[in-house]
Structures are given as C-alpha cells and as structure tokens.
C-alpha cells in the first residue's frame, strides 16, 4: 500500500542491469521533481495497443487515391511474375521494434517512456544470424515529454531528467550519435505551442515521436549497410523503404487503406496468390517527388503471398497482401517489368517457411519475423525494475 498522494507508477522497463540504471536515474529525476512540488498521478497504458496509426491525422496517411502514378501500366492491373524459382538475392533483412508506455501523468500531461530497437540479420546457407553494423546503438530508451505544452510540472520533470544526466536529443538523427542509450526527447519539438490539456493529442504525439525514433534507427542502419561492400546482395526492410537504396526493398505488411478505387480496388482484392499488381508511385510519394524531393520517389506494387482465406478467422480480403517499395529502376518498359517480376519472385520464394506463429504471417516473410523475435525480448518487461521504482516512489 502506498501513502495517498504519492505516485504509484505503473511502470515497465527494459531488462537487465542497464535498464535498472535507467530506472535508477529516472527515479532520481522523479524525486527531484517531487521535491519541487510536482504531483504525479498513477496509471497508464501500453500505447502500442492503441494503434495510433489507424487514426489518420496527418498527410502521410496511406490510402489517398488521387495522385497515384501507375507508371508501369495504367490502370494498375494484375500480373503473373512467374514461378518462384527457389532463389533470391535477398540476403539481409532489417526491422525494428518499439515498446511505448504511459507510466503516469502530471495533471493532463502524459509521461511516456519508450524503448526502441532495430537490427539487421544476414542469411548464409539458410541460417539467419544477427549482422552487426558499427556505430548504431542496438537499443534506445527514451522518456518523452511535451516541452512546448508549457506545463510547469512537465517542464520541471523535463529539467530534472536532464539534471539527472539523461541527455536531451532534439532531432532523431542526434539520438544515434548521442553516445547514450538513455535519452530525453520532446514530443512537441516541431510545434511552437501545444495545448497541455489535450491529453489524447499529447499521447499521440508521444507515440509518433517514439515511432520516428525507431524509424531513425532503421534508417541509419540502412544507410550504413548501403555503404558497405555487400556484393550484389539485397536487403529487405520491414515497412516503407526509408532511403533510396538501390539493392533494397521495403515490405509493408499492413494494407489497411488501399491506394486504389473502383475497378483497381476490386482487382487488388481479387488478386490471386502468386500474382502481383503492376507498379505505381504511391500518392504521397508522387507528391513529394513533384515538389522536387526526388529521393522520395519509390516504385511500389502489391504481391499476394497467400490467399485471403489462408489466415486465421477475422482476417479480411487484404490478408496475404504485401506492398513492396523499391527505387524506380534505371531501365524502362520491358526491362523495368522484368526487374519487378524478378524481385516479386524473390519475395514469393520466401513463403516457406511460414512466418507463424505470428498472426500477421500471411503478409510477412520468415526472416523479418526472425528479426522481430530476436528484438522483442530486449525491449519488453522488467518487473523487478518496475517494482524497484514503485518502492522508491513509495518512499517519497
């Protein structure tokens, strides 16, 4: 039982002694803030469960049908890329994971903590192993606060965290070079003013900041990989392709909102297993390209790995679909088509083994699932650390 008015923090922190160090330093910061009069309120939730991405609130939302550029064939149609030959140049695989939780509140301001991790694995003679890339931390732990909400309590904690030795990282890229796995980030960095009473909006911002932190880790890994001599091997990245790397593809599992409408949408939902759509440039990427950011251009197409009904109950007609992104090949016409077909056959060859038991297996390839499996234990749960922090708070 804790004395009334004293924070009882619901807390789940990364494993290991280093996680304990982070917990210890945070505890110090909380105590300092508490001494200056900040009042914490117990309770929180796992932000990962809330699927903030499913609530459109910015321009990067998938699903806008206008501005789609169907450059391989107009309209986009179904195409048979040929039989998977049991061969693939996909030798490297990259993915990241995150665990983001609200651990308490200061008034209406959520105090959010995230742990993000990313890595590359390499497949050699069918065996997949972690592939270390120097200079990129394997894991980052961050406390996320909305500095520009200008809430005195939150800002007092903001100061206290820095005073406790956790560096403030303003841009995501700086997190890589911060030299510390434990950082403080501002979820309102790009916004001059945010309403501190907008609790829901502040949680969403914190989640987005956590996601962009993870994405920056993945991007940096991809950049450094592209600078290495990896011969003619390719890398598959989970999600959109963040950089225009030539020998790389992005594999997007979640096609919740489709780019197509009308007949194209029907064609996509009826796409047979083993087939692909012809390629296009997704709307928002086409828009950015058109504003001069050519590095944003990507060729994209869908592949149906498995029939829609192959998955478990509750899946819909998008189950088994994966959207592929790559740089637009230098070739054109038939050469381009052959290139897309070849990449498609590589992806289709990854259907065995199944990425089970992950429920997203119909749209996922095994090596990406492997990366997630080796990363997840590093970011999840540390009951002892949480209990320790609870005891510390109880003693305040």
């Amino acid at each position: 039982m804790f004395p009334s008015g004293v924070a009882r923090i619901l807390f789940s922190m990364p494993q290991g002694s280093k996680a304990n160090d982070f917990v210890g330093v945070l505890g110090e910061a909380f105590r300092e803030a508490s001494r200056s009069g900040v009042k914490f309120t117990a309770g929180g939730s796992d932000l990962e469960w809330e699927r903030f991405n499913s609530h459109p609130f910015d321009e990067n939302e998938e699903g806008r049908k206008d501005s789609l550029d169907p450059f391989e064939n107009s309209p986009v149609i179904s195409r048979d890329p040929g039989e998977a030959e049991g061969f693939s140049r996909l030798e490297y695989f990259l993915d990241g994971v995150q665990a983001t939780e609200e651990i308490g509140r200061i008034g209406t301001v959520p105090v959010v903590v995230t742990t993000v991790a990313a890595c590359v694995v390499r497949r050699e003679e069918k065996r997949i192993r972690r592939f270390d890339i120097e200079g990129v931390p394997p894991l980052l732990r961050a406390i996320i606060l909305p500095h520009n909400a200008n809430d005195p309590g939150a800002n007092a904690l903001y100061e206290a965290v820095q005073n406790a030795g956790i560096p403030l990282v303003e841009r995501d890229g700086e997190a890589i070079s911060a030299g510390s796995a434990d950082i403080l980030v501002d979820s309102t960095y790009h916004e001059p003013y945010v309403d501190p009473s907008d609790y829901s909006g502040l949680r969403q911002r914190a989640y987005r900041r956590a996601s962009s932190l993870r994405a920056s880790l993945e991007e940096e890994l991809l950049r450094r990989w592209s600078e290495m001599d990896t011969g003619d091997s390719w890398i598959a990245v989970d999600g959109q392709l963040p950089l225009p790397v030539k020998n790389a593809v992005g594999l997007i599992k979640n096609a919740r909102r489709l780019f197509f409408g009308g007949e194209e949408a029907r064609m996509l939902l009826d796409l047979e297993a083993g087939n692909r759509t012809t390629a296009f440039v997704p709307p928002w990427r086409a828009e950015r390209r058109d504003t001069g950011r050519s590095e944003e251009e990507r060729a994209s197409w869908y592949i149906r790995l498995w029939p829609a009904d192959a998955g478990s109950e509750g899946v819909d007609a998008t189950s088994g679909l994966v959207r592929v992104e790559s740089v637009v090949p230098d070739a054109s016409g038939a050469e381009q088509t052959r290139a897309f077909d070849e990449v498609s056959r590589w992806v289709l060859a990854e259907r065995a083994p199944l990425a089970k038991p992950d429920p997203r297996w119909p749209s996922m390839i095994y090596p990406i699932g492997y990366v997630e499996n080796i990363l997840k234990p590093t970011i999840h749960g540390n009951r002892r650390a949480r209990l320790r922090l609870e005891r510390e708070i109880a003693s305040l």
């Binding site: 049991g86 069918k126 060859a349 089970k356």
Partner: protein, 694 residues
C-alpha cells in the same frame, strides 16, 4: 570471464550452451535444461556426456539425458502448406530450431570447501566438464578405499584432435569388495552385452589396483573355452614367430591402438592372469573302476575340458568325487519322485556308516543280499534290513547304479586320493584366478559342482580359511541359480547369504544375468554396483528399471557392444562408459592357438618344457631331436615326464629325460595299462645315471 571453479569447466572448448528455466521446466537441485550453441564443440554433445554450469556460489556437474529439438512450428501441417506438399521444395531459410538437453545433476560443489550446496543452477553458460569435475562428481573425494577403474567415460570435448576427453569411472574398492558395501551385478542380453568380458576386465583391474590386500577370483566356465586361456595374452608375445603365426592364423588381431589408448587412460597394464588354475571334472569313462584312484595320475586328456594340450595343461587339475561327496546333495541328484522319506532315510544310513565310495556301496549291497538270503534259507520272511524295507533297498541299488552316468564322469568308483594335487575347494592364493570348467556338463553334474564349490567356499569364508582378504565369485545365469520366487534351493540360499553377509566375510559376488527381474530381490538389491548392457524391450518394461529415464531405457535397447551403464553407491545418477576388450584370449581363440590340434609335436614338447625348465630348448633343436619318432611316442614320453614332476619325482633336466625316453629307454608300464601313471621313474634313473657319470 571468471568462474567459481575454473578447473571444472573446459573453457577451451567454449560454452556449449546456456541454461534455461521456465515455469514448466524450472532448474532444480537434481536437473536443469539448457539449449545448445552451434559451436563445433557443442555439435558433439550427446547422451551420457557430462557438463558443468554454475549457481550463485556453486558449480553443478551433470550428465546429459533426454535431448529434444524444438522449433516454433505449431503444426506439421504448416510445414506441409508452406511447401505446398512438395517434399523436394527447399525453403530459402531454415526454421529456427534449438536442441535442448536435460542435464541430471551428479554433484554440486560450493565455492567454499567446507560448505555443501544443492542450489539449482541459474541462467548462464554451460561447458563440458573436465576430468577433474567428473571425478569430483562421481564421489572420488569421498572414497574410503582404492579407486578401481571400471569403465572409461568419453566426453564430447576433445583434448587432442579426434580424441575425446577420457575419464576413468572409478568405483570405491570398499563399496565393491566390502566392508562398506559390496557385490556387482551385470545385466544384459547374451552375446551382446559382454558380461563375462567386463567381469574379467574388472577382476583384472582389481588385481592391478588393490594394494596391501590379497585378492583372488573364482569363476565358472559354462560355455566353450571362454575362460580357459586367461593366462594367455591377447597380443602375441614378441620374439616367438611361430606363436605369432598361430595367433595370426586364428585371426587374433590384438588390441587396436584405440583400445591400447583406453588402457592407458585407465592406467591399467595389458596383462593376462598370471596365476590361472583350472579345475575340470573327469570325463565319463575315464575311471577304470579300481578301488582307489590317485588324482595325481590323471592327465588333462582324461578331463572334461578343452584345455588339454600338452604343455598347456600345467594349470589344469581334476575334480573327482567319491560317493561320500555326492550324498550330501542327494536331493539334487535323484528325482524328486524317488526322494521320499524312506529313500532319504536309507541315504542317511549310508552316510552314518561312512559308505563313501561306490565300491563300498556295492560291498554293502552284497552284504545286505547275504543277509536276506540267509534269512530266506532259515525260512524267515524278513522284509527289512536295519529298518529299511527291501523295496527301498532295491530302489537305492537301482538308482545308485545310474549315478556314474548321471554324474557324467564326476563320480569315481573307488576311493579318491588327492595327495598334493590342488583341490577346487582349497584355500586361495593371492591374485589367483580359479576357473571351474563345467562347460561340457549340463543338468545334474553341472549344478552339483556349482552348488558344492560355492557352499564350500562359503564355509571357508565363515571359518576364515580362504587365505585371501577378498575373494570374488563370478556366477553367470543368476536367474537360474538364484531365481526370484519362493522355490527353495540350497544354492539360492547360499547366494542370498553371500549377497547379504558376504562383504563382512571377504566374499564378493559378481553376478550376471540376462533378466535382472527374474533374479532374487536380495541378490540384486544387495549389489552396490550394477552394470547394464543391452537389454531386451520386454525386460525393460519391468519395474526394476523404472528409475531410469525414458531416454536411458531407449539407449539400453540399442547399446553397442563394449558400452555399459554403471550405477554405483557413490553415483547419484548412473553414467555410461566403455571398456576395452579384456587383455586375454577368450573362447575359441584359445583352443585355436593352444589347443592340441593346433600344435605339432615339437611345439607340444617346447610348451611342456617351458613349464618345467627356466630355459626351454629352441624349437629347431627339438624338431631335430624328435625327427623320425612317432608322435604317440613323443606324447607318451611327455605325459610321463609331467606325471613325474607332479609326483615330485622330476629330474633336474627334464628335456634330457625326454630325449632318453624317445630314444627307447626302457619304460615300465603299471598293471592297469594307462599311460602317464605310476612307477616308471625316468627322473630317478636319469639322476642315477648322472651320479654314475660323476
């Protein structure tokens, strides 16, 4: 990285895995689980290997059991669907699989010498255990007696390329031979489990390692010539080309380099039994029916044994009984339907009258006949003699008449005089290997000999007359001699007694059987050391094996020859190990090389002379000397030379005596016509001749 006991972990091979715990499979004081790494060393991990892992303040040493390979495949169908039913389709990625072993803790050592620990290990690296760790885990530190190597453990780590780390599996002499505990039991299928081979190996090990104690062994040869050439090394001695040829001709390949390496690792010499003595019964028909039989005159050719070649029979001695030796076992000899109270009473009468020989029995029968005849002549109708009905007496006469054939030569007609000839039931010598050859017998005579010898040995032990500190008795087919169940038998009772009390009386039973479950509980239960070779599946279902894990039972079903599971008082978990072939000739090898048909006359002469002289003549010289002489004459001369030496009348130069004999020196034959006996004192005459020359 530092460890609590660096000397227990083979860090050179690197960690071979990592301890894992879960709610379903926690680490306990007695077992833990670990997944294996993919290093070269880890790929050699297998059942029976020994590893080490740490708790907070202790190191646990454990033996591997129960390997299981896991993947995250939830259903076989998922693999089928992934390949669309095409078994030939190769996926680009291998599904992750881990190999998990259960490790059964042998012992745990605390970082502080004086503290004990049973704490389970924690999550951390697992290494192959070093020999030092294995010895500690098998209780070597707590041994009160000498360490006797019984098997060789081969671990998965390599000390040299291709050579596994070898550690002798020792047993404590005081728990094998007493007094703390005792006895050994070996179970396994016939022909596959090498029970006798291992018993020989263990006895050799004991003979070599036991210090400051006199030890001897008694074995029964029940099959062929298995135990008849235990004084012959498995490798042809150097410097004797002719013998080497015979070894080669018999297909005896000697020990392989690996086997020699095993002996070296066990710190044992490859040496045969120096003091072998073989006792075999007289062959049926060899007794000539005289009133007295001098055992010293019986040659090995007259015995029921396959070790009877001249020159190789110096260690072979007769077992001959007279009637008085058989009567105490009348219950074994006569049919149960005959052995009623009246018959038993008549036998007691015979014993009371000290009717010790068949001839004395026959004399008594004549006496009884005269008694009845006299009564009849007097007109008396007398049906009893000394309280025994005439029908009983007739039955006895009839049944006793069949005794010689029933005893298959064991029973002589007249009085048996042993003189100085060694007896099967005399006290033992230090390091003596005494073999009783009953392979040519079956049924009654075989059981008689076994029962009689063991009973007499037990008597000697009780009276402290063994003349050795420890006597090992090896009995095969224990399910025959000490069966489970209530059927009474004096031999079974004796064996149970030996099992229960033998260790206090310097007797140790090494028992072997195919079916442990069919042996008397006390006999197997009192054995502090047990060995298991390959066992049949029906036997393994028995409750005797319920303490073994399923994996261990399945290993026992297919155990290869030369590999055994050892259970000992000091071991908390049984351990697998191997042993090399015994360093002696066994079975047909012996007869092929040293049997009568394998050697020509010259070799026979040399063999005989080798036993009688310190420097026997060379083979070439012998061939010259016997050239043109009939083989039978050569054999006769050899038999008589041997007989003289046995009687204490041997000459100073037996070879000269032999040469004189074959050159036609006069030979006296005694009245019963047998060769090799009696008064032809070649040695004495030679000595007289020599004195004359002097």
């Amino acid at each position: 990285m530092s460890f609590i006991h660096d000397n227990f972990l083979d860090t050179g091979s690197g960690p071979v895995g990592r301890v894992v715990t879960s709610e379903e499979h926690p680490a306990t004081a007695h077992e833990f689980y670990f997944w294996t790494s993919e290093s070269e060393a880890a790929q050699r991990l297998d059942i029976g290997h020994i590893v080490a892992a740490e708790a907070e303040d202790a190191t646990a040493v454990a033996v591997l059991d129960d390997p299981q390979r896991y993947s995250d495949l939830q259903s076989f169908l998922d693999d089928f669907y992934a390949r669309d039913g095409d078994a030939a389709l190769e996926a680009l990625s291998d599904r992750v699989e881990i190999l998990v072993f259960k490790a059964r803790v042998l012992a745990t050592k605390h970082r502080h010498e004086k503290k004990q620990s049973k704490r389970p290990v924690r999550s951390g690296p697992v290494f192959f255990a070093t020999s030092e760790a294995i010895e500690f885990a098998l209780g070597a530190e707590d041994f009160s007696g000498t360490k006797i190597p019984m098997l060789l453990h081969e671990n998965g780590n390599e000390v040299d390329e291709g050579t596994p780390q070898r550690t002798p599996l020792y047993v404590d002499e005081e728990y094998l031979l007493g007094p703390e505990a005792g006895h050994l039991n070996i179970t396994g299928m016939s022909g596959l489990s090498t029970k006798t081979s291992h018993a020989l190996f263990t006895i050799s090990s004991i003979f070599q390692k036991t210090e400051n104690k006199k030890v001897a062994a008694l074995m029964f040869n029940v099959k062929g010539a298995d135990l008849l050439f235990l004084d012959k090394p498995i490798e042809a001695p150097e410097g004797d080309d002719e013998l080497a040829k015979r070894y080669e001709g018999a297909g005896v390949r000697g020990l392989s380099p690996e086997e020699k390496g095993m002996y070296e690792a066990l710190d044992l010499d490859v040496e045969a039994f120096e003091k072998l003595s073989i006792f075999a019964p007289l062959r049926y028909g060899m007794d000539e029916g005289e009133r007295e039989l001098n055992v010293s005159d019986v040659s090995a050719r007259q015995l029921n044994t396959r070790r009877n070649a001249r020159g190789e029979d110096h260690c072979v001695h007769p077992i001959v009984w007279q009637l008085g030796d058989v009567l105490p076992y009348a219950g074994y000899v006569f049919e149960q339907s005959d052995f009623d109270d009246k018959f038993r009473g008549f036998i007691e009468e015979l014993r009371a009258r000290r009717i010790d020989t068949q001839s004395a029995f026959q004399s008594l029968m004549l006496e009884i006949d005269d008694y009845f005849e006299a009564a009849e002549d007097e007109g008396k109708n007398i049906q009893n003699w000394n309280g025994h009905h005439v029908a009983t007496i007739r039955k006895a006469r009839n049944r006793f008449g069949g005794l010689p054939s029933k005893c298959a030569g064991l029973l002589a007609h007249g009085r048996v005089e042993y003189g100085d000839t060694p007896r099967v039931d005399e006290p033992f010598k230090d390091r003596e290997m005494r073999v009783v050859d009953i392979s040519q017998l079956s049924g009654v005579p075989q059981d008689l000999i076994v029962t009689s010898v063991i009973s007499k040995v037990w008597d000697m032990a009780e009276k402290g007359e063994l003349n050795v500190d420890k006597l090992i008795i090896f009995v095969d087919e224990l399910n025959k001699y000490a069966p489970a169940g209530n059927k009474p038998s004096s031999l079974k009772d004796t064996l149970v007694d030996i099992s229960a009390r033998g260790r206090h009386l310097s007797l140790t039973l090494f028992g072997a059987q195919q079916f442990r479950s069919k042996v008397h509980d006390e006999v197997v239960g009192n054995a502090a050391t047990s060995l298991y070779g390959r066992i049949g599946d029906e036997e393994l279902t028995n409750s005797s094996y319920r303490s073994f894990s399923q994996t261990t039972r399945e290993e026992l079903l297919q155990l290869e020859k030369g590999r055994l599971l050892l259970r000992h008082a000091h071991y908390s978990v049984p351990v697998f190990g191997r042993f090399p072939r015994p360093p002696v000739l066994m079975g047909k090898q012996g007869t092929d090389i040293f049997g009568g048909k394998s050697v020509d006359a010259a070799v026979a002469v040399q063999s005989v002379m080798r036993n009688l002289m310190s420097k026997p003549p060379a083979l070439a010289g012998i061939r010259t000397d016997i050239s043109g002489v009939e083989e039978e004459r050569v054999h006769d001369a050899l038999d008589r030379i041997n007989a003289n030496h046995r009687n204490g009348n041997g000459s100073r130069n037996p070879y000269d005596s032999f040469k004189n004999a074959i050159k036609g020196a006069s030979q006296k034959r005694n009245g019963n016509g047998s060769s090799g006996r009696g008064n032809a004192d070649l040695g004495f005459l030679d000595n007289v001749r020599r004195m004359k020359d002097d």
